[in-house]
């Protein structure tokens, strides 16, 4: 098969009509994105960084539980940051490549999703090797796999947000600014605001409200999933038991997983909608 099968159908006279969708084209673009990212070496450095950090966490602490607790911080802070910033920068840098692709009779969604696929695959591989491998080696239990699952979903969600940030602004600096703001909001600001609200309305029964609010932030969802594994004993106390019952139940687990999937799909869908209509 030749490199660009699509090029052969450029003669198609009606450009208004969208070219037919084939998953092969999307996969092909994804493949080139992965190659491009790998040439970049940043992902390799990121992978080694994760690997070194996780190995040292597990080796420094005799108890794998403590290693997991430290790793959780990395996953909740560093993973979203790297995901969103790297994806944004890379997308801006591959603007010319996108322009070239758009000149071809390819569906815009294929190009866009191909980019997304390539980006997520490379970052997820970096995460799986950097964190997944040590975790399975040192603590291959349910909580280990929960940690890996949370990390992968968070990576996907924040790359989605990066794509949204990119299509929102033509200006690279502004785009990165939006991305950083999203990260800052999800990891720090949101919890602060909710905590403040909690103090302000502490006279009211807030348990159910708080459960609802947790769904509005992917970082909180991931954190709570891990909390159930690491601090089960403390969560059983007082009203903590309510959260344990909700998030520990099959319904709660599937709901939080569903919410996480929405956090991946929704920003991407919005970004795609904008990208389709965008004047490049």
């Amino acid at each position: 098969m030749k490199a660009y099968t699509a090029i052969e159908v450029t003669q198609s006279p009606t450009l208004q009509q969208e070219p037919t969708h084939t998953p092969m084209q999307m996969l092909k673009i994804a493949k080139y994105v992965v190659y491009d990212i790998l040439r970049n070496r940043f992902v390799l450095a990121y992978m080694i960084f994760l690997l070194v950090v996780s190995m040292s966490f597990f080796n420094l602490e005799a108890d794998p539980t403590k290693g997991m607790m430290s790793l959780l911080n990395i996953i909740l802070i560093v993973l979203p940051l790297v995901g969103i910033v790297f994806a944004t920068i890379h997308l801006y840098n591959s603007y010319e490549f996108m322009e070239l692709m758009l000149a071809q009779p390819l569906r815009r969604s294929d190009i866009f999703l191909g980019q997304y696929l390539g980006m997520t695959v490379s970052l997820c591989i970096a995460f799986a090797v950097g964190v997944g491998m040590p975790v399975i080696l040192y603590d291959g239990s349910v909580r280990g796999f929960t940690l890996i699952g949370c990390g992968l979903l968070l990576t996907l969600a924040f790359i989605s947000m990066a794509f949204l940030a990119t299509v929102l602004s033509r200006d690279k600096a502004r785009g990165i600014g939006i991305a950083l703001l999203l990260w800052f909001f999800c990891t720090i600001l949101y919890d602060g605001i909710v905590l403040m609200g909690m103090f302000a309305f502490s006279d009211y029964p807030l348990e159910k409200v708080i459960i609802g609010l947790a769904f509005l932030n992917p970082v909180d969802l991931a954190r709570i999933a891990m909390l159930l594994q690491l601090d089960a004993a403390a969560l059983m106390g007082y009203t903590g038991a309510l959260f344990q019952h909700f998030f520990g139940s099959a319904l709660g687990t599937s709901l939080s997983f569903g919410a996480m999937v929405l956090w991946i799909a929704l920003p991407l869908w919005f970004a795609l909608r904008i990208f389709r209509k965008k004047d490049i």
């Binding site: 108890d63 539980t65 403590k66 607790m69 959780l72 911080n73 909740l76 802070i77 990891t187 720090i188 919890d191 602060g192 909710v194 905590l195 909690m198 103090f199 502490s202 807030l206 348990e207 708080i210 459960i211 947790a214 909180d220 954190r223 709570i224 891990m226 909390l227 690491l230 601090d231 089960a232 004993a233 403390a234 969560l235 059983m236 106390g237 007082y238 009203t239 903590g240 038991a241 309510l242 959260f243």
Partner: protein, 416 residues
């Protein structure tokens, strides 16, 4: 000179005494245990062969040795008290006692001892009883190696595994209690020993005592009991080498100490409980070499506790190490190992050079607003905790360990 002659002479006489052995077996001339007890002289032995005995309530009213061979079953038919002991010097072993009656008025038990001394109850199986073994007003009794299982589901309809009331110098050892209300229950029991028992899955407490002074608890295991272990209003408790684990729930404590004085708790292991030790009105007690692992709160020390000393305890991977309800702290923490300690040891004396404050801001916050637990391990909370560590404003300033150990305390060594 006189004694040395007299004692062998007495021993010689003892062999002449007509101590008989009666054998009870279904289908023979002696098929009822009650008949054998009626015919027996004091200090005889009654051997009971296997079979099911439904005799209403059997009452042992003279000093006898009752031996079950191949687990004869004493069935209470959910109406009677299978075995009542109303005499001193009685030994009961090898029986299977089941299905005793159930009334809130009488406290019917599988085996109940009334005001006796020197009663030995050992190696019996007790199944599906209201109370298991009940000692009432007795002294110097032994309850060892029994296995008690009940299947109660609510507190109101089930009794305790081993229940002792107004006793002195009793020994409760090597028993297994499962599914009762309280595993072991003491009220007004003094100078007694509870050792090597295993209390699992009881509805309320694994161990529960009140007004039971000078008792010794060692090498017991209390696991997955509804509300853990609760002990109250007692002086001079000695608890060593016990294991408290997996007691979880909103009102569950591995160990609840309420109004306990001058006691000694050492070498105990607290693992994966919601609260390790909850102390209220506890004074002049020493806590040494205990290990707290993966608990929600390792210690909750209320402000009503004073003059307690916590020394050489090890704290590993607890969500919160210590929490309290007031800024007033009258207890002393020294030379404990805290895995969250981040200080340094410049002079290499194995003790950290900066004090450790085990109460985190968030432990205080979540005490007042339990649902704040949802934000635990959030980066924001981490930042708040950090700020509080630098400038304590909400957490008690004087609850601190001035000489935290750099390495976990290892029993038998002299580190720290």
């Amino acid at each position: 000179m006189k004694k040395t002659v007299l004692i062998p002479l007495l021993l010689l006489c003892a062999t002449w005494l007509p101590a008989r052995t009666w054998t009870v077996s279904p289908g023979t001339g002696l098929s009822r245990i009650s008949d054998a007890i009626a015919r027996a002289q004091p200090h005889d032995t009654v051997r009971v062969l296997s079979g099911i005995y439904r005799e209403g309530g059997i009452v042992v009213d003279k000093p006898l040795t009752l031996q079950g061979i191949n687990w004869p079953e004493l069935d209470g038919e959910h109406q009677f008290q299978p075995l009542s002991i109303r005499s001193s010097y009685v030994s009961i072993s090898g029986f299977k006692v089941s299905r005793c009656g159930e009334t809130a008025l009488d406290d019917i038990a599988g085996i109940k001892v009334y005001n006796a001394r020197f009663v030995y109850i050992f190696n019996n199986i007790l199944e599906d009883n209201y109370f298991g073994i009940y000692l009432s007003g007795s002294k110097k009794c032994w309850v060892t190696g029994n296995r008690m299982t009940a299947h109660g589901t609510v507190e109101q309809n089930s009794g305790n595994g081993v229940h002792a009331w107004k006793c002195d110098s009793v020994t409760i050892a090597d028993n297994r209690v499962k599914g009762h209300r309280d595993g072991i229950y003491f009220e007004f029991v003094t100078n007694s020993t509870v050792a090597r028992n295993i209390c699992i899955d009881n509805i309320r407490y694994g161990l529960h005592f009140m007004f039971s002074h000078n008792d010794n608890y060692e090498y017991n295991t209390f696991k997955r009991n509804g509300a853990g272990v609760a002990v109250m209003y007692t002086r001079h408790v000695r608890m060593v080498h016990n294991t408290f684990s997996h007691n979880r729930g909103g009102a569950s404590y591995a160990l609840l100490l309420k109004d306990i004085q001058s006691s000694y708790l050492a070498d105990n292991d607290f693992t994966e409980n919601t609260i390790g030790i909850f102390m209220e009105g506890c004074t002049r007690s020493t806590f040494e070499r205990n290990v707290f692992r993966k608990n929600g709160w390792a210690l909750k020390v209320q402000a009503s506790c004073e003059n307690n000393v916590f020394r050489h305890n090890n704290f590993f991977a607890n969500t919160f190490d210590v929490s309290t309800n007031n800024k007033l702290v009258l207890n002393n923490f020294e030379r404990n190992y805290w895995d969250k300690y981040e200080g340094y040891d410049l002079n290499r004396d194995q003790l950290g050079d900066v004090p450790y404050r085990p109460v985190s801001l968030f432990a205080m916050v979540s005490d007042q607003m339990p649902y704040a637990m949802m934000f635990w391990r959030s980066f924001t909370v981490f930042l708040l905790d950090r700020a509080e560590k630098v400038i304590p404003s909400l957490s008690p300033d004087n609850l601190r360990d001035d000489s935290p150990l750099m390495q976990p305390y290892v029993t038998g060594t002299t580190n720290g």
